[in-house]
């Protein structure tokens, strides 16, 4: 998928490699459910605007350029049609009504879905990620990483095209909201692409508009991670109907991912035959040939005639797996055992044979087979290597259990490819591997207190309070580390119910001593600096300013530590209540808040102490 903001400004290049201009806008025709991009506007030399048909002229495109399939001389320009909308001009930055959430939102970006060289408008991005992206893609990455760190992932907020309504007066004649009836005009694979990019609520409501067989096909086309989610959203009756419509291997895959009781419930709601087929497949391990095979295949006894086979094929269900091969068998050793596989007849041979030929005579007997426990990747590679349309799976005795079809093999190869890539370190989530981000995260996880300390010093210097707050600031590392400990301890003990690592006291003792050391180093550096300054000024007796600041800060600091402990416990309690309400509580966020509390407390306490001492004196 891709965003309009990424498309605008890229080059338009013809077959000869000559640059015609840069993309300035894309046009859609408004009537479709997820409208295709129909034309493209671009700016040629001298800012002359041009418009050409997307379908006719665009060969392919990537991040940097759009390649046309003709040379510049052969391009015919077109005009904006009355039912077309210019996406950048009429939608970007405009207000739309989210007809589902009944809210007014502003379009920050437009999300497009790519299938082959076709682009469809998926919906409007109205969340802050679109805004940040418009400012700078780097800003978006940083914000996403920070969000992840604080366990508040920055989600995209997409409003699907069919749920939006334009507010603008000029465009009110253009009807945007279209009924869902047009949805069935899309290919199930396209529907699946779109479904994957919607949020669960929108997805569920789109399913209401698909019939069972469309839903079944669309779900089969979904990526594995979405299948169980989608099924979970459907009512049980509907879910089992949809599953029954699917190829048994796909259905078994999905059911295998569901929790046990839910799976049983769905299976019981199904017809006997479908249930049996799926249960048979469920027995096999995931990621093996048995796990991806289907039990829908055509196998006949060796003695069967061509005529009879064709008759059997006519009787097959409409949604039966396509038959590319007919397998010939002899009966198994026992009545319960599967029949022995003896050979295979290709469709071509079957069609060319005479009606009364026996299958056993036509069959090719030198067979490639797979074992149900074979790795799915090996199986898929066999299919790919020998250019097969299907590979039979047999048990140790040669009994035919099922077949692995070429489409499932492709899925496996694609999946394994992605996994290999991920193993090789080329993660799709590229901000995870950014060394700068890793450093930032490490630093933030370990040393938030330092950042807070520096921030306080900068703030007090800017407001001219550095000398007033000097004592408090020098002892701040101690207080901050204590605050961090309290937060960590609280998170571990109160919230995660984990076994705490050692008692709070030991933790405090360790980090308080670290804080005290850092504070003392800061004090000595400060004192040394003052001493040098004093000597430079050649004043006789050195000003005991730093010393008095330290002495005056010891009692307030002790008081602050006590108060910080109390505040930490209160915050932890608050955090636990938030967690009980279902909010995510982030360790880092909790620590930061506790530290800020500690900073405010220390400054308040030491100011109060100074005031009291001042009054006393």
């Amino acid at each position: 998928m891709i965003y309009l903001s990424q498309m605008l400004g890229i080059s338009v290049v013809d077959t000869a490699g000559e640059k015609l201009g840069t993309v300035s806008d894309l046009a859609i025709s408004a009537g479709e459910v997820f409208p295709r991009i129909t034309s493209m506007a671009f700016r040629g030399p001298g800012k002359t605007p041009f418009m050409i048909s997307w379908r006719k002229y665009v060969a392919d495109f990537d991040d940097a350029r759009i390649n046309l399939n003709v040379s510049a001389a052969d391009v015919r320009f077109s005009y904006l049609q009355s039912d077309e909308i210019l996406v950048a001009r009429d939608l970007m930055n405009k207000q739309i009504v989210d007809t589902q959430g009944l809210k007014i939102v502003r379009v920050n970006d437009i999300k497009l879905s790519v299938s082959h060289n076709q682009l469809r408008l998926l919906g409007a991005e109205v969340g802050s990620r679109g805004l940040l992206r418009a400012l700078s893609p780097h800003l978006e990455n940083v914000a996403v990483a920070v969000g992840k760190f604080f366990k508040h992932p920055l989600e995209e907020r997409i409003i699907a095209w069919n749920y939006m309504d334009l507010l603008d007066r000029d465009l009110s004649e253009v009807k945007l909201s279209v009924t869902h009836r047009r949805l069935h005009e899309l290919h199930p694979a396209d529907i699946a692409d779109i479904l994957e990019q919607l949020d669960p609520q929108q997805r569920a409501s789109m399913f209401e508009h698909l019939d069972n067989s469309q839903a079944a096909e669309a779900i089969s086309e979904l990526e594995d991670e979405y299948q169980a989610d989608v099924l979970d959203d459907l009512t049980e009756g509907r879910a089992s109907q949809v599953l029954a419509q699917m190829d048994p291997d796909d259905a078994a895959d999905i059911i295998g991912d569901l929790p046990y009781h839910k799976a049983e419930q769905l299976l019981r709601l199904m017809g006997v035959e479908e249930e049996k087929a799926i249960r048979a497949l469920l027995g096999y391990q995931e990621h093996t040939a048995g796990g991806i095979m289907t039990s829908e295949f055509l196998a006949v006894d060796e003695g069967t005639t061509v005529d009879e086979v064709i008759e059997q094929m006519r009787a097959l269900d409409e949604d039966h797996e396509p038959v590319h091969y007919v397998y010939t068998t002899t009966p198994g050793d026992t009545p319960d055992a599967p029949p022995h596989l003896t050979g295979v007849v290709s469709m071509r041979r079957l069609v060319l044979a005479r009606d009364d030929d026996r299958l056993g005579n036509l069959a090719f007997h030198d067979l490639l087979t797979a074992n149900p426990d074979d790795d799915q990747e090996d199986t898929a590679e066999t299919i790919s290597k020998y250019d097969l349309l299907a590979l039979p799976v047999v048990d140790e005795d040669g009994g035919l259990l099922g077949i692995v079809t070429v489409d499932d093999a492709f899925d496996v190869l694609e999946e394994e490819h992605d996994e290999d890539l991920a193993l090789a370190g080329a993660s799709r989530d590229d901000d995870e591997d950014n060394t700068w981000m890793v450093f930032f995260k490490w630093f933030m996880r370990r040393e938030i207190w330092f950042a807070v300390w520096v921030a306080v010093i900068v703030f007090s210097a800017l407001t001219g309070n550095l000398t007033t707050w000097l004592g408090a600031i020098l002892f701040m590392p101690l207080v901050l580390l204590v605050a961090d400990d309290v937060a960590t301890y609280a998170i571990n003990d109160l919230i995660d119910d984990d076994e705490a690592q050692g008692s709070l006291l030991r933790l405090l003792a360790r980090d308080a001593s670290v804080g005290a050391v850092v504070g003392l180093i800061a004090v000595s550096v400060c004192a040394a600096a003052m001493g040098i300054l004093d000597n430079a000024n050649a004043l006789g007796d050195s000003d005991p300013y730093v010393v008095s600041a330290i002495v005056n800060s010891i009692v307030p600091t002790a008081l602050t530590i006590l108060l910080t402990l109390v505040a930490g416990v209160l915050l932890a309690d608050f955090a636990r209540r938030r967690k009980d309400k279902g909010h995510v509580v982030s360790n880092a966020g909790m620590a930061t808040v506790t530290m800020l509390c500690a900073v405010v407390l220390q400054i308040l306490v030491s100011s109060a102490a100074t005031a009291v001492v001042g009054l006393g004196a």
């Binding site: 970007m92 930055n93 405009k94 207000q95 009504v97 009944l102 809210k103 007014i104 939102v105 502003r106 379009v107 920050n108 109205v126 805004l131 418009a134 400012l135 309504d165 507010l167 007066r169 407001t463 001219g464 309070n465 007033t468």
Partner: protein
């Protein structure tokens, strides 16, 4: 929720619907009522413009230069009318606020710049409102450490609690105390022929701070936030193109009334303080100008006016700011929404109020330096916003046939040119040092 409701999610949803479709009967009396009904938002925005910063600037103008500075008032009125009328017109024609139009016409980056600058500048203007409240209350002998947090809490509760509309009227009524400057000005017995002469014949005294004072006077009168406030009020009221005539009357009266009060403030301080050589150092100095009508109570009178004018602006300013920012970025907005629905709006509002109150109270804070920064940001922002305004109002795709006429355009660009020239002059003096 029907679509009509969605569209009018604004701070004041309780505007009587009669305002929207005035019956145009030919009876003169009815017409007069229609015109009266039209007066309102513009007047309010303009009066709120005479806030703590405005009053202290005008007072200083008169005290330092006497009547010689009066001529800037008519000039400023023309500028103010041009800007306010333009802001009102774009809002009436498009049904959108100024910030929405900036976003839709210029895209995310310029909008972010404008909104960021507006946010910072207005937060700093809020400092001066709280400083005004603190100064006023100190005349009553109340410490700023009590009055400012209390005022912040009140502003927060009043506006977010939804009773702002009622309170707004009270504050407006109390800040009408400044109308007492009209009486004070007349009772002070100025030399009317000199006043008339100085009002209409420009003169530039050979005083190096004169230009600086002229610039800051214009800066407090035509503040960036007032452009947003003016257009938001029009959208808020649901004024459409048909009522554009009435809208213009509102803009013009608002500008004239506000400047008339400013004129009287200058006149009063010019007559009472200038001949005695009193320059204004504190709020109580400024209050001395009211002695001719209030005698010993002049301090109380001035303090009450200053506090309520500042409080009114302190309510409106964060409201306008967070409304404009949310409108630009498409966040739910309006005080009618719960915290969950409009979290960005309420967070922004709260943040502005809290930050302003806290900063004013930080010991050793150099408020004067912050005010200078604020003037700098406002100075950079104002010409940019005015250029945005003129570009939008001349965009046929946005305004249709309601684009500026040629004469109006000349006037608008002249306004921009003069404001830019003065701003550049201000910035130069700021950096080179006065």
């Amino acid at each position: 929720m029907p679509r009509g409701d969605i569209k009018r999610q604004t701070p004041t949803q309780d505007v009587p619907s009669a305002d929207r479709t005035p019956e145009r009967t030919r009876k003169p009396r009815a017409r007069f009522l229609v015109v009266l009904a039209a007066l309102g938002p513009g007047l309010l925005a303009a009066l709120a413009g005479n806030d703590a910063g405005g009053i202290s600037t005008y007072s200083m103008d008169g005290a330092r230069f006497g009547t010689a500075i009066l001529w800037i008032i008519p000039v400023m009125t023309v500028f103010l009318i041009v800007v306010q009328e333009s802001a009102g017109r774009i809002a009436a024609v498009t049904g959108k606020g100024f910030s929405a139009l900036i976003r839709e016409t210029f895209g995310v980056k310029p909008t972010t710049f404008a909104m960021g600058a507006l946010l910072i500048a207005n937060t700093v203007v809020m400092f001066s409102e709280f400083a005004g409240i603190a100064a006023g209350m100190e005349i009553f002998g109340i410490s700023r450490y009590v009055s400012v947090p209390l005022a912040a809490l009140l502003v927060f509760l009043l506006v977010l609690g939804g009773s702002y509309k009622r309170v707004e009227k009270i504050l407006l009524a109390v800040s009408c105390i400044f109308i007492s400057y009209v009486a004070a000005g007349i009772m002070a017995g100025p030399d009317w022929s000199l006043v008339l002469h100085d009002t209409f014949i420009p003169q530039i005294p050979s005083n190096s701070t004169f230009i600086y004072m002229v610039i800051s006077t214009i800066g407090t009168t035509i503040a960036p936030w007032m452009i947003f406030s003016a257009s938001n009020n029009v959208v808020d009221k649901g004024v459409t193109v048909k009522e554009l005539g009435l809208q213009r009357i509102d803009s013009v009266t608002g500008a004239v009334v506000a400047d008339l009060i400013a004129w009287f403030i200058i006149l009063t301080t010019a007559t009472v303080l200038f001949p005695n050589g009193i320059t204004i150092e504190s709020a109580s100095d400024a209050a001395y100008a009211l002695v001719p009508i209030a005698g010993q109570y002049s301090g109380v009178l001035f303090a009450a006016g200053l506090v309520s004018a500042s409080a009114l602006a302190a309510c409106m300013l964060p409201l306008t700011t967070s409304y404009a920012v949310c409108e630009a970025f498409g966040w739910e907005r309006g005080i009618g929404h719960t915290w969950g629905e409009a979290s960005e709006f309420k967070t922004l509002y709260t943040a502005i109020v809290v930050v302003a109150a806290v900063v004013v109270l930080i010991p050793n804070m150099n408020l004067l330096f912050i005010m200078l920064v604020s003037q700098f940001i406002n100075g950079v922002l104002l010409p940019v916003l005015l250029v945005f305004l003129i570009l939008i109002i001349n965009n046929k795709h946005v305004m249709g046939r309601y684009v500026n006429g040629r004469i109006y355009n000349i006037l608008s660009w002249a306004t921009v040119a003069i404001v830019i020239a003065l701003t550049v002059a201000l910035l130069v003096t700021m950096f080179i040092g006065r």
